[in-house]
């Protein structure tokens, strides 16, 4: 019974997503909100302001450098967490 309710809720979730997606702009619309508000400034001024022809690099490292600093710290923290979790875990058997 619980399992059937679970399947039903999954179907409802999918139906909800499909219903909500009708309000989103159609794929590839050049006049959609994400394409008209912030990105034209990046596309038009990135080379002049940052000297990087690749706009992805310009946004990644210059306009949103602080964001990328956070991401780098997250990756570093993931490495440290793995180290703390598994350092010595494989030697456990020998002791």
């Amino acid at each position: 019974m619980t399992r059937k309710l679970g399947y039903l809720s999954l179907v409802l979730l999918a139906a909800l997503f499909i219903y909500v997606s009708l309000d989103l702009p159609p794929t590839g619309d050049p006049h959609s909100p994400p394409a008209t508000h912030v990105s034209p400034r990046y596309i038009e001024k990135a080379y002049k302001e940052t000297g990087a022809a690749n706009m992805v690099t310009a946004v990644l490292a210059d306009y949103r450098g602080y964001d990328t600093l956070g991401e780098t710290v997250v990756v570093f923290t993931a490495g440290v967490a793995t180290l703390l979790l598994l350092e010595g875990a494989f030697k456990f058997k020998k002791r």
Binding site: T27, S39, G79
Partner: protein
């Protein structure tokens, strides 16, 4: 008809997300749950990339810069940037998840969630 063609990608992404939720909720094995989390992550990445597309747009790379008013000819670089970092962070956090699962396996000698719960009650 246009509505279907314009929104088909969203529906496929929604189905992918629901597949991930199904794995997360109904699978008993912790490794399969981690795979389901990765499926959800992929669906999110596809959703963001889908928002950044424009019809007939080129890759956002141009030496010399773009003149004003020509922004519609280049894809939106912002989702690309965000998802680029999301992919790398996703791989790193998957590593953390695998490490956690390994410690759980060391302690309970099983990966099935029901048996782990049984072991916790004892």
């Amino acid at each position: 008809m246009d509505a279907i063609a314009g929104h088909l990608n969203y529906w496929l992404i929604a189905v992918l997300f629901v597949v991930g939720v199904y794995g997360l909720a109904f699978q008993d094995n912790l490794l399969k749950k981690l795979m389901a989390l990765n499926v959800i992550s992929v669906s999110t990445i596809a959703f963001f990339l889908n928002l950044g597309q424009k019809v007939g747009a080129k890759a956002p790379i141009l030496p010399g810069g773009v003149k004003g008013g020509e922004a519609a000819a280049y894809a939106n670089p912002l989702p690309h940037t965000l998802m680029l970092t999301a992919i790398v962070v996703g791989v790193a956090t998957t590593g953390v998840g695998l490490a956690m699962i390994y410690r759980i396996f060391k302690h309970y000698h099983t990966l099935e969630e029901s048996e782990i719960l049984k072991g916790m009650r004892e």
